[in-house]
């Protein structure tokens, strides 16, 4: 029944998210559409990280790299006059997967702190590469010339349409990751996380499965990057800053490691708190920090663990 309860919670979350734009319009608070869209974009990034962290035991401290690659792919193509969203996003996903393949090929041979450091180091390299690209604004970044276009079918300049597109993608990503982790592939990476020696002894070579998971995760996060730059309409190397990687990691831990949809709750909590607190005081980080520490201490399986059905694997 656990999985049934979980399904209901997920559907309730989905229904709430569907209702955000009409509710915001009713209350004349359109800014919430913006905020929740940002939450969902980071939710996608966090879900992608949970795939490798929660199920593969790979603590990537460099997931911002793929946000960056996705965002740069869209902006660079737009800069050269290519505005076709399908092409842009395909390049964003494909590019991120390639970068993930390179980073994963090296980092997955290591584990623990080395894995963390290598993913961080690669991301820093990309960050400095972004800063040094003067054509695309270097340190300051640049405005996205035009948002991605989809043959006039969906208009990303319309906040509500863009919102529902992001929501659809988020739902699809959550569904995809849920299926993935229960498939043979998912069982193989979860087994390797649980006991690598046992996996090797029954004939699993963990490496190719972990690498594939890492690449899939990077691709999903790259898509989040493409969405993010359309959301901000402005590209900066800051997308790839290490604090960004830390935030995504935190969203996963706060929301619940290995809970698939939990990280969306983490993204919601972190970004909404940030927004509310920064409205009260400029020293909001001093309040946010301890709150988050408390949340992690008292909700061992994250926020998702507090919900009915949230403990389900």
């Amino acid at each position: 029944m656990r999985s049934r309860a979980r399904k209901l919670v997920l559907l309730a979350m989905l229904a709430l998210l569907v209702l955000v734009p009409p509710a915001a319009a009713l209350l004349h608070q359109l800014f919430y559409v913006d905020l929740l869209r940002r939450v969902m974009i980071f939710g996608i990034a966090a879900v992608s990280l949970d795939l490798i962290l929660g199920y593969g035991g790979m603590v990537s401290f460099g997931h911002a790299a793929y946000l960056g690659v996705g965002a740069y792919a869209v902006t660079v193509l737009a800069y050269y006059g290519i505005h076709d969203g399908l092409l842009q996003w395909a390049v964003a996903i494909g590019g991120s997967m390639l970068v993930a393949l390179a980073i994963g090929a090296v980092s997955i041979r290591t584990s623990g702190i080395y894995f963390i450091m290598i993913t961080l180091a690669f991301t820093q390299m990309l960050y400095y590469l972004g800063i040094s690209l003067d054509v695309f604004g270097g340190d300051n970044g640049m405005r996205l010339p035009e948002r991605s276009q989809f043959f006039g079918l969906i208009n990303l300049n319309n906040g509500t349409e863009f919102y529902y597109l992001v929501l659809t993608i988020l739902a699809a990503v959550v569904l995809l990751v849920q299926r993935l982790v229960e498939s043979r592939f998912g069982m193989a990476i979860r087994a390797a996380k649980s006991n690598e020696a046992r996996s090797r002894a029954i004939g699993f070579s963990p490496y190719p499965y972990k690498l594939a998971a890492f690449v899939i995760s990077g691709g999903i996060c790259g898509l989040a990057g493409a969405l993010l730059v359309n959301h901000t309409a402005y590209l900066t190397p800051d997308f790839m800053q290490w604090t960004r990687s830390g935030e995504i990691l935190f969203m996963v831990i706060l929301g619940g490691v290995g809970t698939t949809a939990g990280p969306v709750l983490g993204a919601f909590t972190l970004l909404v708190l940030e927004d509310v607190l920064s409205g009260w005081t400029e020293h909001w980080q001093i309040i946010l920090g301890p709150l988050l520490v408390l949340a992690v201490l008292f909700a061992k399986r994250g926020l998702a663990g507090l919900l009915p059905g949230g403990r389900g694997g």
Binding site: R184, M187, A188, A191, S194, S199, R200, G203, G313
Partner: protein, 259 residues
């Protein structure tokens, strides 16, 4: 005569100055149960590790079913039919007993790059897994989290996982270690049912188990095999007795002999 199923020649493995395997020659015939005994720290687990591919020997070769497998790592050897149980129980603790065995079936069923279908709903994985669980006597415990099984059950589960890969060679490192006498008796009975059908290399301190299961016994002391022979020959071997002198095993031995 056909070549033995497994042939190890001149295996050497040192940890620093310690020679854990010292020029070991060893073979196993198809269908044979070949036990390896020896005092604590003799190098039994190190030897098994080199056979399974978890450890790489410093020198020597290992042939399996006519193929040189010395350079193959553990997963590749597993796919050729090696299956191992560890001295310290090694299972997927966060998964149910059935999941554990189903994973072993899956590992043997070709690559796992299948991304959509739920593995827990695949009868081709679950049915054989259930059968093996029944076989080892864990049928009623299929849905229990492996971490929550009793110690003896966990050891049974590990053997079930090894069997579920459909092995040509079972490497068992002290399968009854830490078991109560009832449990260990059941395990020995179970292993005796495999005898003849399954090629087994058995490391065990329990002399009752060894003498009732083994077709041949090799005695490993300080990394060297000092004797190989039938249980009767090993019992009568003076070197072996001397090597064990003063050891607890001497007692256990005398005990086993009296039966």
């Amino acid at each position: 005569m056909a070549e033995a199923l497994l042939l190890a020649r001149g295996l050497c493995k040192s940890f620093g100055a310690l020679r854990a395997s010292d020029n070991i020659d060893f073979d196993l015939l198809e269908g044979e149960t070949h036990a390896v005994i020896g005092p604590n720290g003799a190098g039994k687990t190190t030897f098994i590790g080199q056979l399974s591919g978890d450890l790489h020997p410093d020198a020597g070769t290992i042939r399996f079913a006519g193929e040189d497998v010395t350079s193959l790592r553990a997963p590749a050897r597993a796919r050729r039919g090696f299956a191992r149980s560890f001295q310290i129980t090694s299972i997927y603790r966060e998964f149910t007993a059935l999941d554990n065995v189903a994973l072993a079936v899956q590992a043997r069923a070709g690559h796992s790059f299948r991304f959509w279908r739920r593995a827990r709903e695949e009868d081709v994985l679950r049915d054989p897994a259930r059968r093996v669980l029944e076989e080892v006597g864990l049928g009623a415990r299929a849905g229990v989290l492996a971490a929550n099984l009793a110690h003896g059950e966990q050891r049974q589960l590990e053997v079930a996982m090894a069997l579920a890969t459909g092995p040509r060679l079972l490497l068992l490192d002290e399968p009854v270690a830490g078991m109560g006498s009832d449990e260990s008796q059941r395990m020995v009975e179970f292993l005796s049912r495999l005898k003849g059908r399954q090629s087994i290399i058995l490391v065990e301190h329990d002399m009752d188990a060894v003498f009732s299961l083994a077709d041949r016994i090799s005695v490993l002391v300080y990394g060297r095999i000092i004797a190989t022979g039938t249980p009767q020959e090993i019992r009568a071997n003076a070197d072996v007795r001397r090597a064990y002198l003063g050891d607890d095993v001497q007692l256990a031995w005398a005990h086993a002999e009296r039966r």
